[in-house]
């Protein structure tokens, strides 16, 4: 048997003759009119994107911006669904709307399969992951997740104030995914920096973003090499050994998918747990009802996912077209706001209210169509266990200081500081 020499730094670096992507001028600063100059990276959006999107849905349901080299923002459920389903007109080549577009040659694979992939490649790349993320497969991690949540709360012993975002919510998905990938559990804090760079640092200078990405890939290569030498029963070894169309995966595919699992699984779930606790801290009646009726939690959790959907995606327009009344140009972005779709009154009764016993809830927090979140069963398990353990152990809590709560800007939204007073 020959040694697996796919994972050298040279193999993973772009070739000197590889096509470059395009960059546009970075525009920041206050938005003049959300209908024609929107930006999901400004503090006003981070503070309350719902008000902005509700307003746009009424007066300009497909908003436009000249920032980021041009883009659109549909806010009606039916338009968001139509974009998600139409993989002919909209590409996933890049799903983070910023000032850089990867070269067109990157399609249909993209940098982090399957999220960055288009048909027909997408289907097979996604299939590789599905068996590890079924409801049955992730249920095997429930016990360890529960024990870990208890341990986090044990560490609060004697304290009256804790940061539920930084000291609880954040740690849970980091631990779970590090365990699934077979990474050293103590590396958690390092992942956090990688993730911040890729999702929240969108308007940083390109050199700085590239340097951050390089750190992430260096880390991943080291983990992969370690697994090549000592194969284990985890996702990293699985990806190293997996085959697609009769061949081992390219090193870019392995590293890109690992980066995706690390990034897609952490910020998102952290945000969902944090937003749910924020809701309960600010709505004592809902908190008391869930403590009294724990059986309602699965239903309530879906409502938190609807109302505070953490994830917004993006697409790139494949060719010039008139789309539902607006002139889309090739390479324009579409900001695919699942949160906006989830608050469309044409789809949900009392859309702006949080009803923890909502029975009919066809929300799209995990997307729609072929890119449905591969991790949705895992995320639901983590969210349910995190909330169950918190409510069991710390049933009474309020915000320590409303002004100290901060929310992330960009495409993953959730509390980043959430000081709670325990009583």
């Amino acid at each position: 048997m020959s040694v697996d020499d796919r994972f050298t730094k040279e193999n993973l670096q772009p070739r000197p003759d590889a096509p470059l992507g395009t960059r546009n001028e970075i525009v920041t600063g206050p938005v003049s009119d959300w209908a024609d100059d929107f930006s999901h990276l400004e503090p006003e959006w981070a503070a309350d994107p719902y008000r902005i999107q509700d307003d746009l849905r009424e007066r300009c349901p497909i908003a436009h911006t000249g920032r980021f080299g041009g883009g659109w923002l549909p806010t009606r459920y039916e338009d968001v669904a139509a974009v998600a389903y139409d993989t002919e007109a909209f590409s996933s080549r890049s799903i983070i709307m910023g000032n850089f577009r990867p070269p067109r040659e990157a399609a249909p694979i993209g940098g982090s399969p399957p999220i960055s992939s288009d048909p027909p490649f997408h289907h097979d790349a996604r299939r590789l992951l599905l068996p590890a993320f079924t409801k049955r497969a992730v249920s095997r991690r429930e016990e360890a997740t529960r024990a870990y949540c208890h341990a986090l709360i044990d560490a609060f012993e004697g304290r009256r104030e804790v940061d539920a975002a930084g000291e609880y919510a954040q740690h849970i998905p980091v631990r779970v995914i590090a365990d699934m990938l077979g990474f050293p559990l103590e590396d958690g804090p390092r992942f956090r920096a990688f993730i911040e760079n890729s999702l929240e640092g969108v308007n940083r200078p390109p050199e700085q973003r590239r340097a951050g990405m390089e750190l992430l890939f260096d880390y991943l290569i080291a983990q992969v090499r370690d697994h090549v030498e000592r194969p284990r029963d985890d996702l990293t070894t699985y990806l190293i050994e997996a085959e697609l169309h009769g061949q081992k995966l390219t090193p870019q595919h392995v590293a890109g998918t690992m980066a995706l699992l690390l990034i897609a699984g952490v910020d998102t779930t952290w945000s969902a747990i944090g937003a749910s606790l924020w809701h309960l801290a600010t709505n004592p009646a809902d908190r008391e009802r869930l403590v009294a009726e724990p059986g309602l939690l699965p239903t309530a959790m879906e409502e938190f996912l609807r109302a505070y959907a953490p994830v917004t995606m993006a697409r790139l327009v494949k060719h010039d077209m008139q789309w539902r009344g607006v002139p889309m140009k090739q390479e324009d972005w579409v900001l695919l706001s699942f949160p906006a779709a989830n608050r469309d009154p044409a789809q949900f009764e009392r859309a702006g209210e949080v009803l923890i016993d909502r029975e009919v809830n066809r929300h799209v927090a995990f997307g729609l169509g072929i890119h449905r979140c591969v991790g949705s069963h895992l995320a639901r398990m983590e969210l349910r266990v995190a909330l169950e353990v918190w409510l069991e152990r710390l049933p009474r809590f309020t915000l320590a200081d409303p002004d100290a709560v901060t929310w992330s800007a960009g495409q993953v939204r959730g509390p980043r500081a959430l000081p709670l007073l325990l009583s």
Binding site: R127, L130, P131, F133, T134, K135, R136, P298, E302, E359, V360, N361, R362, H363, V364, F366, L368, G369, I370, R372, S376, H377, R380
Partner: protein, 64 residues
């Protein structure tokens, strides 16, 4: 009543087997499957309706 899943639409969100585990299960990739021949026992009509009403892909059909 009978339930049916349109495999072209189903994306494996799993709302059906979360909400009505007696009527639906998952295959090894997480896609929804109806249990048995899809016949809904009289006591499970509400479960069937709830599953259909919560499938984000509208992949579940109820047939009387």
């Amino acid at each position: 009543m009978n339930v049916r899943i349109d495999p072209e639409r189903c994306q494996g969100h799993g709302r059906c087997y979360d909400l009505a585990p007696a009527l639906f299960g998952e295959d090894e990739e997480g896609y929804g499957q109806v249990a048995g021949d899809g016949a809904v026992p009289p006591g499970r009509l509400d479960d069937a309706r709830r599953a259909a009403a919560n499938c984000p892909e509208r992949a579940i059909a109820l047939e009387v």
